[in-house]
Symmetry: C2
Amino acid sequence: MKHGHIPRVTIGRLSMYIQELESMAREGIEVVSSEPLAKACDVNASQVRKDLSYFGEFGVRGVGYNIAKLLESISLALGIHRQWNVALVGIGNLGRALLNHPEFKQRNFHVVAAFDCDPFKIGEIVQGTEIICTKRLNEKVRELGIEIGILTTPPERTQRATQHLIDAGVRAILNYTPARLRVPEGVHVEYVDFFHSLYTLSLNLSLGERHL
Amino acid sequence: MKHGHIPRVTIGRLSMYIQELESMAREGIEVVSSEPLAKACDVNASQVRKDLSYFGEFGVRGVGYNIAKLLESISLALGIHRQWNVALVGIGNLGRALLNHPEFKQRNFHVVAAFDCDPFKIGEIVQGTEIICTKRLNEKVRELGIEIGILTTPPERTQRATQHLIDAGVRAILNYTPARLRVPEGVHVEYVDFFHSLYTLSLNLSLGERHL
């Protein structure tokens, strides 16, 4: 397996491939060639072959990929063969939506703690997880072995929540708020951008209108 | 202005640039060079210059970009200088989080209708928007001039909701569910993928461990 640098655009397509491969596996399919996988994912077959080449040499020309082996190899490369303990900080509607999302656990991301500083929320149980005061973040991160923090706080509180997570030893943060974060080297941050996709749609609709 | 094809990766960085440029404008800054903009967005300056070249020739060597003109040009290119009417289909926690998100309206995406087929939700007002029975989608899309549909339904209902939107004349769909959609040519679909960012984090954490 080629280790190391997997391009971001490839990572961006992996969850789609994983989903299709799992769905094929559930139907009892053992081997798939790049064409039907590409068709199901709405990309071209050479792109699929290139993307999957980062995960080993499973493609047998004229036969296809062994689905079980390919899924195992992708899981290993992404580090999702093992469980990640996740803390959610900021329990508004979006935080609740993420707590209720069954796929997180299915995909080995276990939200084991939920934090909020609103006294009216502290103590409430959401999907089996108790909302805890953000002041106890440090203690809980160590106790529960939390490695990833998800931020769904109001934007003005995001930097402080980030600092709490970093002080507690968390090295990976997923930020759902529009705030840009300042973090020291060695801390990984990913931003979930709600507008990127809407801009792509408005751009495409506008281009369509211009060509009328 | 170069019209036509703006690469997806560039569109992906635009909301970040827009946010930084707006924040600079609010502080009274009129002109910015690529370096401080790049620093604020955590990308390199040549990338910023390349991305912004799609929106006109505003960069004056040694001086920088006129922020107001650049923002106007980006808005025009993306079609976000005018209002888009949006329908939200499926009002669970995620749907509520989106209805409560003030930035949608600020960015000219107005959620003007919310649909759900749960009789216990129909008639409820969320953030000034009444939840309407999904059966009335066709009528409401025409009445309210809805051009974009956002799907936050359970995955098994997504395709049916998509069909309702298409039948009503909607040509742009933002899908927050993991289901892949079948749509006719001319209908634009964007997928919001919750796992792409988590996979990037677990990959980076795993690479860090392998290098210890």
